[in-house]
């Protein structure tokens, strides 16, 4: 029994000086990201054995699966916050396409500078996120349905507008001539290039004939991934707003009773997912130099899967941003691992579905353990 009820006059002698004396093990077991961490270890073990010399764990392979994980991870962090807040956003995938095309058309058709189109794309994201949030809190309809509408509206709008203006569905040559500008470098560039050059000079990684290392640095998406995850984790664990996120997802009515601005919290979380989708799009567009109306297809579900693997409950009120990071890492590792080991990539989807089911079962168990009267 975790709590002892004693006579009122008895001294609280059982209390440890630091206020908590639950064993370290109990506290670790209570973490929502535990399952995802275990899953990550398992995935690395499996591929460590099966993909030994296929190149998955070569420097190139690692940077590849990190990059795939990073892009999804940026989405998953915001989606995890929203899910903890008790809502879904199915429109994030379409939002990616919409934001890509906003940047693409802005540059190629309207001749705007890249930085301005990125600002405009984030402006749209705030408006669309707020619209999603307002619709959900004002109508009281499930966010699943409201944002499912958003999924089709945004994708259709993106396709229709792009095809009307350009006659095509892809927009190439966006960064042409600006490859070294700050805005392209900060979203689509590489970091730790000095470190990798040093690795090359030391002979730890192979060099090209011109003296540059074969892997020149890490994709900026990885830096953004870490940044966004750290921010989300900090908000959840350490801020008042984080406390409110757990509360609105756990029980909105109770939260309202004690003065939490439930609607504002939810609307902000929807703005968060739309902005994460736009960040995803910006990174992709400026990395590849082109935009595509079909960008982000199915990403909404992948992000939800990553968040669920990371310990988020579908019913809200529980979850972790760090867990979502591991969820995305599992996702990226398996996707690339299957590719490298030469297994038919069709099996990836089977694996994904299975992983999701296992994660949901584990989460349910964890939740029961967490709230069980002891």
């Amino acid at each position: 029994m975790a709590i002892e009820t004693k006579g009122a006059r008895e001294e609280p002698a059982a209390l440890a000086p630091n206020g908590h004396s639950s064993s370290l093990l109990t506290r670790i077991l209570r973490r929502p990201e535990l399952g995802a961490l275990a899953g990550t270890v398992l995935v690395f073990l499996v591929f460590g054995i099966t993909a030994g010399d296929s190149g998955l764990f070569s420097l190139m392979g690692i940077t590849n699966f990190l990059q795939v994980s990073a892009q999804l991870g940026i989405l998953a962090a915001a989606v995890a916050l929203l899910m903890i807040g008790g809502e879904f956003d199915l429109s994030v995938g379409s939002m990616i396409g919409f934001a890509s095309v906003t940047i693409g058309l802005g540059v190629t058709e309207f001749g705007l500078p890249i930085w301005l189109t990125v600002v405009i794309a984030f402006g749209f994201a705030i408006v669309i996120g707020a619209a999603n949030g307002l619709l959900v809190v004002r109508t009281g309809l499930p966010s699943f349905i409201v944002t499912l509408g958003g999924l089709f509206i945004l994708r259709g709008l993106t396709l229709a507008v792009t095809r009307t203006i350009t006659g095509r569905t892809q927009i190439p040559y966006i960064t042409e001539g600006h490859e070294n500008s700050f805005i392209v470098q900060i979203f689509g560039g590489k970091f730790a290039t000095g470190l990798f050059q040093w690795f090359g000079d030391m002979g730890w990684i192979a060099l090209r004939p011109d003296g540059t290392p074969v892997v020149q640095g890490l994709s900026m998406s990885i830096a953004w991934w870490i940044l966004v995850t750290a921010l989300a984790a900090w908000i959840l664990a350490k801020t008042k707003f984080g406390n409110w996120i757990f509360a609105v997802g756990g029980d909105a009515r109770s939260a309202r009773n004690v003065g939490v601005p439930v609607d504002a919290v939810k609307i902000l979380l929807f703005i968060g997912t739309a902005c994460a989708a736009t960040l995803f799009a910006t990174i992709q567009v400026l990395e590849a130099g082109s935009a595509d109306t079909l960008r982000g297809f199915l990403k909404e579900f992948q992000a939800i899967i990553a968040a669920v693997i990371g310990g988020c409950l579908l019913t809200g009120g529980y979850g972790s941003a760090v867990g979502a990071m591991f969820g995305a890492l599992i996702f990226g590792t398996v996707e690339m691992g299957i590719f490298y080991t030469g297994i038919d990539t069709d099996w990836f989807q089977v694996f994904l579905g299975g992983m999701l089911l296992i994660a949901v079962l584990v989460n349910n168990l964890v939740r029961r353990k967490a709230t069980e009267a002891r």
């Binding site: 975790a2 709590i3 002892e4 009820t5 004693k6 006579g7 009122a8 008895e10 609280p12 059982a14 209390l15 206020g19 908590h20 004396s21 639950s22 506290r27 209570r30 900090w234 350490k238 801020t239 008042k240 984080g242 406390n243 409110w244 757990f246 509360a247 756990g250 029980d251 009515r253 109770s254 939260a255 009773n257 004690v258 003065g259 939490v260 409950l313 009120g317 529980y318 939740r367 967490a370 709230t371 069980e372 009267a373 002891r374």
Partner: protein, 274 residues
């Protein structure tokens, strides 16, 4: 029959009527809560208990009559305004989130923070220490304030909800059926805490339909029936049985008794013929 006290009431209703359309939920109700007193509000379902607490806690406004706090006329627009005057209501659902820790629940909506924006953050250490201290005061020794509220028993949960209201400055504590969902042992934990809150000088308004829980801890009893007060009685003026009979409606109970006797009689007769 009205119980009168010398000190002035913290919160008082004078001839309050509340109508919802043509339905009269409360009629000509007068009611007062004093510091250091447990005022039990008894009545069957639909007697108007719920409307009365919602009026006191600022959810509803009186259609007629007036409400006074510390002798001054007030009209609450929202529960928040009542809370600011120190009138806190612990609703039946407790307004607690089972999956969140005790500390997070305790300070939900009133989180202590430190640092300046954008680095303002929860003062978790301070919060944990306060929770441990406040709960130790009422005899609940936490092993870990970080454990989820869902791990607490019903009685402990109720106590945490009450402690939260008291800590955040309640002078009048309105408890909506705090023991109705609890077993005997759990209910006794809550009742002991109610007595403690009284000793600390709070005015407690204890809503219940269970006279066995209300009588031991109550000082004053107000009985409600169909939106009207049947009167307010001091403990030395009535016995537990009298209160029970008034609650059920004396006539109803007599009818029931007569009916039961008849059934018993008939069965006795059938038994004899066989």
């Amino acid at each position: 029959m009205m119980a009168t006290l010398d000190t002035s009431a913290i919160v008082e209703l004078r001839n309050v009527t509340r109508r919802f359309g043509s339905v009269v939920a409360l009629q000509d109700m007068s009611f007062a809560a004093y510091a250091g007193q447990v005022h039990c509000l008894l009545g069957d379902n639909g007697a108007g208990k719920s409307t009365l607490i919602k009026t006191l806690s600022g959810v509803h406004q009186p259609t007629e009559g007036e409400m006074l706090v510390d002798g001054h006329k007030v009209l609450f627009g929202s529960p928040r305004e009542a809370l600011d005057k120190g009138i806190a209501t612990v609703f039946q659902d407790l307004s607690m989130i089972p999956l969140m820790s005790i500390t997070r629940n305790f300070f939900l909506g009133r989180e202590p923070t430190r640092g300046v924006f954008p680095f303002r953050r929860l003062d978790a250490k301070k919060a944990d220490a306060i929770v441990a201290e406040e709960l130790a005061k009422i005899g609940i020794n936490l092993r870990d304030p970080q454990q989820a509220v869902g791990t607490l028993s019903g009685g402990e949960r109720q106590c945490v909800a009450i402690a939260r209201a008291v800590y955040h400055g309640a002078r009048v504590l309105i408890l909506d059926e705090p023991t109705s969902a609890l077993g005997v042992h759990q209910a006794s934990i809550v009742l002991r805490y109610v007595a403690q809150a009284r000793a600390r000088g709070l005015a407690v308004i204890f809503i219940t339909h269970n006279i066995h829980h209300a009588y031991p801890v109550g000082d004053v009893f107000t009985l409600l029936n169909r939106g009207r007060s049947l009167g307010t009685f001091r403990k030395d003026q009535v016995s537990e049985n009298e209160v029970l009979e008034m609650m059920a409606g004396r006539r109803d109970l007599q009818h029931l008794r007569a009916e039961l006797d008849m059934v018993a009689g008939r069965r006795g007769a059938e038994g004899a013929t066989q």
